[in-house]
């Protein structure tokens, strides 16, 4: 029997949800029937709106999908202006102030504290510059990820930007693919870095070459069924298909139609295509794709470039990200700037857009490591650009502990998380920077902090994986983390080995310090990467490497932030929440 969500989707879903949202915007929060909240909130996701967690009723997170994280300075400025005007809540965040934008691991933008009453105005502003919230969440084609500098990167096989634009235009707002069994995440990579992180996507186009009709063709190998969620991580499986760039939309249409028709609509936990690939195997996926969805003979896979991949690969010979100054193919430069856990104040967003425009940049890029790139900086302007005040905060050369930090949304807004994440990761990064020396030769160290097993911060593919849990300390329940080591992508993608459970959050920095100390003492040479060091040790040896301990690090969020209405409020008690509120932020009478 189809699930409840499938029934709601059958009644109303996709493009038509927009009209309902506009109606609710006009009539206000109270117009959404209380007994239909679950159904409407599920539908709103298709248009990029997530209702925030308990204690924050009537407030929404809004996600703006930017294909490959790519924007113009004008679009970025609009994001900043919308954030400043509409994304402010009842209480400021102590680290980030009252208005900010989150850059996500799938190269989208998230704004919080959005009132339904403002949706029409926000859409007007976003859409006037070509931005949209369409299909940013929900069961359909999500934001397509890949390198924001495609076409500018001096280190690429194919410029995939025109192909990604074609996919974006074909599959956004397309009724044929608007109601899939579950989310559909697509990555397209044309560079030699592996920056699309295709391995953790439902459908991945990986750069490859193949001789076809006597000619060497640059295109893609097609992998299917990757993903990290539900405690069932999978890398996308090779279905032995090569695809020319001009056929990418056909193959993508075929694969997403196969998922639409054969994915599990009865059990949402089993719905992602990774489980269908488990069940069928890559050979059957290929044969069904060929026989039922393609009108030309699919070539077998070509020669990939995987051995060159360095993005988030934990290699000691190259940075695994876009931070810093890089050559463009046209002789100019793109500059990757560090953004603290992907969160940038609205004023800084606007200032960055102005700065980019001032220097003649036509491209801003959000990366999967939650950072931002400014493209098109001429050689003669580079020194001036690098000396700009804004780059003191958003540095092209941050400390490795800051540079490598990723964090999900956490209990600040998310219904699933069981621990505070972003502000804690900021504090971890600062403490580690100020108190721990990295071993010689270590320029990158990736710490991914996720609030629960949903894995939004991609914890399984980091040097150190932190995943939210609880433990007891001095008789009190405190926030804690399970700790994994040695995950990463690259030539041989590996998920982290989990080595510790329930380490109290205030003892994690001490653990990392002790771990790095052990690494420095025991590694075979200064050239050995942390990831290789982990790979050559068994579970017992890894567990015995280091112990957690209290240090001078102080954790203000150690208590149960899940039970607060907002972790940084003066009075955090659930009944102190002003929510739900009307469009002006005034509390509405509550039934209970």
């Amino acid at each position: 029997m189809p699930s409840k969500v499938e029934r709601w989707k059958d009644e109303t879903y996709g493009m038509e949800v927009r009209d309902h949202l506009l109606q609710f915007a006009e009539e206000g929060w109270d117009a959404i029937p209380e007994d239909e909240h679950d159904a409407w909130f599920e539908r709103f996701k298709w248009w990029g709106l997530y209702h925030q967690r308990k204690g924050q009723e009537s407030y929404f997170m809004m996600r703006i999908g930017t294909p490959m994280g790519r924007m113009t300075p004008e679009q970025l400025r609009t994001v900043g202006e919308v954030a400043k005007k509409y994304a402010t809540g009842p209480v400021e965040n102590p680290e980030f102030g009252d208005a900010y934008a989150d850059f996500t691991t799938r190269q989208s933008i998230q704004l919080h504290w959005i009132n339904v009453e403002d949706i029409a105005d926000i859409w007007d502003e976003l859409e006037s510059v070509g931005l949209s919230t369409i299909q940013a969440c929900g069961d359909s084609w999500r934001n397509i990820v890949g390198s924001p500098v495609a076409g500018r990167d001096a280190d690429e096989l194919i410029d995939v930007w025109p192909v990604v634009q074609e996919l974006h235009e074909t599959f956004k707002g397309n009724d044929l693919y608007s109601n899939l069994p579950r989310k559909w995440k697509v990555a397209m990579t044309g560079d030699r870095r592996g920056s699309g992180q295709g391995d953790i996507n439902d459908l991945a186009f990986e750069p490859a070459v193949k001789e076809l009709e006597g000619e060497e063709v640059a295109g893609f190998n097609v992998n299917v069924g990757g993903g990290l969620s539900r405690k069932e991580p999978r890398f996308a499986r090779d279905i032995d298909v090569f695809c020319r760039p001009e056929n990418a939309a056909d193959v993508a249409a075929g694969m997403s139609a196969l998922f639409r028709d054969y994915g599990d609509r009865e059990d949402r936990f089993n719905a992602r295509i990774k489980f269908l690939v488990d069940e069928w195997g890559p050979e059957k996926i290929r044969s069904v794709l060929q026989e039922e969805y393609m009108d030309y003979e699919l070539p077998t896979a070509g020669q990939g470039l995987r051995d060159e991949y360095d993005y988030n690969a934990g290699r000691s010979d190259s940075h695994g990200d876009y931070v810093g100054v890089h050559d463009q193919s046209d002789g100019q430069n793109f500059v990757g700037l560090y953004v603290t856990v992907g969160r940038m104040g609205a004023e800084d967003v606007i200032d960055l857009a102005d700065l980019a425009e001032e220097y003649g940049s036509e491209m801003i890029g959000l990366t999967q490591r939650q950072n931002v790139i400014v493209g098109d900086i001429a050689d003669e302007d580079l020194d001036d650009f690098l000396a700009e005040d804004l780059l003191d905060e958003h540095s092209p050369d941050p400390h490795p502990f800051m540079r490598g930090s990723i964090a999900c949304t956490g209990t600040e807004y998310c219904s699933l998380s069981i621990v505070e994440t972003k502000n804690r990761m900021v504090r971890y990064g600062r403490w580690l920077r100020d108190n721990v020396s990295l071993p010689e030769g270590v320029d990158d160290f990736h710490i991914h902090l996720s609030g629960c097993t949903a894995s939004c911060a991609q914890p399984q593919i980091a040097d150190i994986s932190l995943r939210g849990m609880k433990t007891r300390k001095d008789g009190d329940a405190v926030e804690a983390f399970d700790i994994g080591l040695g995950g990463g992508l690259g030539e041989n993608p590996t998920f982290a080995d989990w080595v510790k459970m329930r380490v109290p959050a205030d003892e994690v920095p001490g653990y990392i310090a002790n771990l790095l100390d052990a690494f420095e003492q025991e590694r075979e040479s200064p050239e050995q990467s942390f990831r290789d060091f982990v790979a050559e040790r068994d579970e017992d040896a890894l567990a015995a490497l280091a112990e957690s301990e209290e240090t001078s690090y102080e954790d203000p969020y150690l208590g149960n932030t899940k039970m607060t209405w907002y972790p940084y409020a003066e009075d955090t008690a659930m009944d102190a929440s002003p929510a739900p509120t009307d469009g002006q932020g005034e509390p509405l009478p509550s039934d209970d």
Binding site: M1, S3, I418, C452, T471, M501, A543
Partner: protein
């Protein structure tokens, strides 16, 4: 060590409990997660899931245990728990 078997998020019934496992010749203590689960759609039974942290256990492999209850069994169980809770409350000063 192996990863957890059960997923853990804000909807998990208990993410931190004291538990123990006893077998012939061994008894070990560990923290545990306990979850009450029903199918999202047309549930016919209730599942209780229990997983002890495998890092603290030497005598059993990483695993989770599941018990399924009918609605009547779940009510009986809930009544027993309620009575037991009352007895505990009654002994508190």
């Amino acid at each position: 060590m192996a990863d957890r078997v059960m997923k853990v998020n804000a909807f998990t019934t208990f993410d931190l409990l004291d538990a123990s496992v006893e077998g012939h010749g061994f008894e070990e203590e560990a923290f545990a997660t306990l979850n009450v689960r029903t199918a999202r759609e047309a549930p016919e039974e209730i599942t209780l899931e229990l997983e002890l942290d495998n890092t603290e256990l030497e005598n059993v492999p990483p695993h989770a245990d599941r018990v399924t209850l009918s609605a009547d069994e779940a009510r009986t169980f809930a009544t027993e728990l309620q009575k037991a809770a009352d007895r505990v409350d009654d002994t508190q000063p």
